[in-house]
Symmetry: C2
Subunit: 345 residues, 2 copies
């Protein structure tokens, strides 16, 4: 076992930071390090926090971290920005956070930004969560900005998913349309001291009572095929349903007891208990692994293909498609048949 | 050549609608139809319209369609909702739009929703655009809701990308963070009659003057590797830069001449001319084809692998990973090596 692995297992923060940089840079040898850490994972509770820009997610995550710290739990935070492949936003975010939680050795914060790769960020996030898990954190908070498929992919890593809304972010129909509500285990109306909070909370509750998203969650696996043996997570084997609760929070700590954070922490614990009682934990873990396996297989297959197809060949094919002399799907068959022939001779 | 292909090439709308349904349902034989249509594509100008929920994209798209119709151009609209994999939002959207543009045979409208497949929507959209192109539409408008990577993937189909903002959607830093600005050829401040429009327009312009996104656009290909031979689109070969203009629009037609739509249409034409003058058209088309080819290769490789790996084998591997006895990347190697051995015996 290499030194880096040893240090991370002992909770060394510098070693952890180094590994996260290796993950981001896809440095050679990182897979081996992660493989060595893998048997030591599975202990952290992973909480995903997501929602549209402007809902105050970051402040909420900071307050959650503080609250867990006051329970003597160690907290790792991974802030993911899937919408900003190029900007330095992530680094800025780091600094702002640092000011707030600085000096507490029980908290570790790291930002990750997309680097132009499709799907690469979800994988990097998953690896980062695993590194923090192996490093011994009790709680790992994964925060993502934006709304969309990349969001959904990233929160799939989480055991409990919190979706944050705020009053006055456009009308409620838009919130419903945003679709990420459908992945929520817990719904937050943040900035609940602002006008319109009642309306936002009411429309979220109405939607949940209509049973709209809860009954259909977590049924679709990779490539749109239903996952084998996966029941809706909202149905416990005992017939109990998990109806995502709607909780109001305020981001400013006017009164440490009444900003909703403690209630939120209790509900997270309740959700964890629900998954255990309803024997859903294993089912969800299996689903996460299936998705990861598909994702990794896809990446590896493409890597291998790109090692054997020459750039010349690719350029030639692209030129023929551009001239409308070759149809794209035919091009795919042509490339794959050639590789197969090469392989057989 | 089959009958459906003939009918679509003749501009038959029912045949076109049928093909779009086949594309959504991944019906067998659809690839062949698209292959037969492919040589007849490349004539439509494809305009992507994107932005956060609540910015008034749909109204803007409708007004654009009307304006193009008044120039006697035929218009196809594809409204894509990547954030709502399950809800019937797309169908509702169709009906609302129909009311507005109904009865004009020069307009064709179709909504598409994600069906739980990763990346599948971008591909379906691309195929749909191609079907409309082959069917003879002068202008194809692709509208997407939300913000994030799926958005970026979808607008990559477009020749001109319009990003819509609106006043009061959260502070400007959030808008900048949203990252989709970086894909804009034209920026819109919609709802420009509302308070705050000046601020929104000013902060967008400031950002553009800082040269922040324009200089770095379109440089990243699939899998994060820089695309071969691709120069930044903002640099014309003659040294001319395309600085995305900021245009104010109002969604209500209080005064047909002064809602900004005609200005927008002129700027789209200017952008088209810019791409031609700067010889960027071919470069961008090549880039679009490269992305499509990677995407299709990836899908086909996974299809083939899933046909030869048994569900039993997969279940066994997933169980071993879940027990932390097998590491996910090792599992990938194991699966691929077994397939290779099978193939060789």
């Amino acid at each position: 076992m290499n030194e880096l692995v040893q240090e991370i297992l002992q909770g060394n923060r510098r070693a952890l930071a180094r590994l996260l940089t290796h993950i981001e840079n896809k440095r050679e040898g990182t897979d081996e390090t992660l493989a060595a850490l893998f048997p030591h994972t599975g202990h952290a509770w992973v909480i995903g926090v997501t929602g549209a820009p402007g809902t105050g997610k970051s402040s909420l995550v900071n307050m959650l971290a503080k609250a867990y710290r006051s329970q003597n739990k160690t907290v790792g935070i991974i802030a993911v920005d899937p919408t900003s492949p190029f900007s330095g936003g992530a680094i800025l975010g780091d600094r702002i956070r640092m000011r707030d939680l600085a000096g507490d050795s029980g908290v570790f914060i790291r930002s990750m930004a997309a680097r132009g790769s499709l799907g690469g960020l979800a994988r990097a996030t998953r690896d980062a969560v695993r590194a923090l898990d192996a490093s011994g954190f009790d709680i790992v908070l994964v925060e993502t900005v934006g709304a969309g498929q990349s969001e959904v992919d990233i929160v799939r890593t989480a055991h409990t998913t919190i979706v944050v809304e705020a009053p006055g972010m456009g009308d409620e129909v838009q919130a419903i349309k945003a679709g990420i509500l459908e992945i929520a285990d817990i719904l937050i109306v943040n900035k609940a001291d602002r006008p319109g909070a009642d309306n936002t909370a009411r429309s979220l509750k109405t939607m949940l009572e209509m049973g709209h998203p809860a009954s259909r969650r977590h049924l679709i696996g990779p490539y749109g095929r239903p996952l084998e043996g996966i029941a809706p997570t909202s149905n416990g084997s005992d017939g109990n349903m998990w109806i995502p609760p709607v909780i109001r929070t305020t981001a400013t700590e006017v009164d440490g007891q009444r900003n909703g954070i403690n209630e939120l922490i209790q509900v997270v614990e309740k959700h964890r208990q629900h998954l255990a009682d309803a024997h859903l934990w294993d089912v969800l873990e299996q689903q996460r692994i299936e998705i990861e396996l598909f994702d990794r297989l896809q990446g590896e297959l493409m890597n291998r293909l790109m090692q054997v197809v020459s750039l010349e060949q690719l350029s030639d094919i692209v030129a023929r498609i551009q001239a409308r002399k070759l149809e794209p799907q035919q091009a795919v068959y042509e490339i794959l048949v050639q590789q197969l022939e090469k392989h057989n001779t």
